[in-house]
Symmetry: C2
């Protein structure tokens, strides 16, 4: 029962199973039944993530392939066993260990840096996040985090009647954000949401002490134990310490890699456009009342070049299919190099020797001719 | 007089003007005449940056489009005027100001974070950089830095005869690295190499005090004034402070942007390969002794699809050239959607209505047929 249209959004596609209205689902969704859709906005044709709360819909950027921290890290019921079994009087299992069940510390720090950065941005703006929760933190790619549903609580709990300044409670909400961050970090370190339940806290902190650095332990203690003064996201920075360098190096290294990939792929766009142009010229049925247009003059050379590109055969007459041959010839055409190329007529009776630079001139002139005719007609009809 | 080949490198291309042997050029190049080339390694076909020192050649990764900090920031002789004119008894000009001649502080911090990160990596490995100099720091893109010529001094000054441990002097070299970093930062803040000359230091520090944050000033003072204890790159971190977040956010934001670009461009690669495959099928002169192969059966549909892709005309018969039509049709072909498409024969006497899913099947079968013939021949001839 997905609506076909909501406001200016169409093509709705559910991103979560449609809500079975149970307590947990409700409690982790602002106390309301909510549902989440991918949808396309008819104004800009971009995909958005819609979150529906009763009659309200919030639109966020859509991140294809994103999943929540909840589904990535807290979906294994066995992972809770270390904490939950004790309740039934069973003997403690083997202590979970980093890399053997528990997450690597570097990953947890990568998350801490991003989540604290998000809180820092929000708090610096005088606002609070209020949704620092594994079900609302999205992971895209390997480790990139985004906080979803920001602003929902501000709308839902907005109370104009009291004539209260809605910003009055911000300081309190900001403190709550930092406690929530502490819970997320502790849950990640335990690889279990059970670890952050009050009765398991001591056992969870033992787990952290044994498996992780004192910086990580101190960060969690700072966030989760009572402080004499207000907590601030800036106090976390010394505990992150030199890990900032690690994060930054990793981000910049990743930049370098994808920039290199991009540089390679940009070539593909250029090559694709070349082939598309060549396609509009080759074998065009009739042009300017000349049915032989694509077979004569400059176009004849381009037809033979097309054969040279695509229809190579071995000496035995078998097809010789080699993408690198196609790419290399197109690149030479695009650059208009002075190198010579022998183009052989289909009846093999004549061989035309031209340079790529000649071919480029033919190619450009011919495409210009087509474009001029196309534009002329457009102007004529408008 | 560029050699055509050096060791396994060929296609040498000078990256710097060939050396006029003057004092400055020599002193900023390890005391030797050096020259720098782009060259291709015949073993891996990758481009490298070669630095030739007399008979020695060092090979580094080649970064296309890179320039040095020297050429980007210290190439304007007027920028030195504030410092150099005073020497001739002239009245001080107007004080240079940030953004009006001087570099923005955020850029300087972006450089500090990267250069200190490089030193941190090198020092943590128990080594020293020894070439922290504007002529050897490369900028690629807008602000990405790389330190060039690392290791040259270690090789040039290696002294085996004394039976000294070459690592004994590392602590001293590391201290020198940090002083060099201080000089680079001060020069950047003054936007002038004249600022780091001993007689201008006081004036340079005044300039920094007036234009930049106390963190930047303290960083320079820490690096350039005598310290009671050994300097360490880690001591810089508190002065960088929250700027780590800024840098990291910027790097991650940039990641997001180029990843999105990459996602778009990857589509081009896919589309290019589709067109290349279609090209190998359409108008193939003869295959399996059948001269009409490309005109009959499945291939006939693909020929009409090619016409549909490339040879659209308006009602008036003018060419209708629209890359988005080509892309959209190719995407539907690639996805094999059930949508129907009307393919019109060239004599306009028959219309074939097929789905893209049918076309995809034809396309894949036909290409498989070509590949099978190509592979069979390869096996036969080997």
């Amino acid at each position: 029962a997905v609506p076909t249209e909501v406001d200016s959004y169409h093509s709705l596609f559910p991103l979560e199973p449609l809500p079975p209205p149970n307590r947990i689902q409700k409690s982790s969704n602002f106390g309301y039944i909510t549902s989440c859709y991918k949808a396309v906005n008819s104004k800009d044709d971009l995909p958005y993530c819609l979150r529906r709360i009763h009659a309200l819909v919030f639109a966020y950027d859509f991140h294809a392939g994103g999943e929540t921290v909840m589904s990535r890290h807290f979906n294994d019921p066995n992972a809770d066993a270390y904490f939950t079994k004790r309740k039934w009087g069973q003997h403690d299992g083997p202590l979970p260990r980093q890399h053997a069940g528990l997450l690597p510390e570097s990953l947890i720090w990568a998350y801490i840096v991003q989540l604290s950065s998000a809180l820092r941005t929000i708090h610096t703006a005088g606002l609070a996040c209020r949704v620092m929760d594994p079900t609302k933190i999205l992971i895209t790619g390997k480790t990139r985090l985004r906080v979803n549903c920001v602003g929902v609580f501000d709308v839902l709990t907005f109370d104009n009647s009291q004539n209260n300044n809605p910003l009055a409670l911000m300081a309190q909400y900001q403190q709550a954000d930092l406690i929530s961050l502490g819970k997320v970090v502790l849950a990640l370190a335990c690889n279990s949401l059970a670890g952050i339940q009050r009765e398991n806290l001591q056992k969870a902190m033992e787990l952290v002490t044994i498996n992780y650095s004192s910086d990580l332990k101190n960060l969690i203690l700072y966030l989760l134990t009572d402080q004499n003064r207000m907590r601030s996201v800036n106090d976390i920075m010394p505990m992150i310490g030199a890990r900032f360098y690690t994060q930054l190096d990793a981000a910049q290294m990743r930049n370098d890699v994808i920039e290199e990939d991009l540089a390679k792929e940009v070539q593909n766009g250029r090559l694709f456009r070349l082939l598309a142009k060549l396609g509009t010229i080759n074998e065009r049925p009739e042009f300017q009342k000349d049915p032989t247009w694509s077979e004569t003059g400059d176009r004849y050379l381009l037809k033979l070049f097309r054969d040279h590109l695509f229809h190579q055969v071995t000496e035995a007459g078998a097809p010789w299919i080699d993408l690198s041959h196609i790419i290399s010839c197109l690149n030479k055409l695009d650059a208009g190099v002075p190198e010579k190329i022998s183009l052989i007529s289909r009846d093999e009776k004549s061989v035309l020797v031209v340079t790529y630079s000649d071919l480029k001139r033919c190619f450009e002139n011919t495409f210009q001719e087509l474009m001029a005719a196309a534009n002329k007609n457009e102007r004529g009809s408008s």
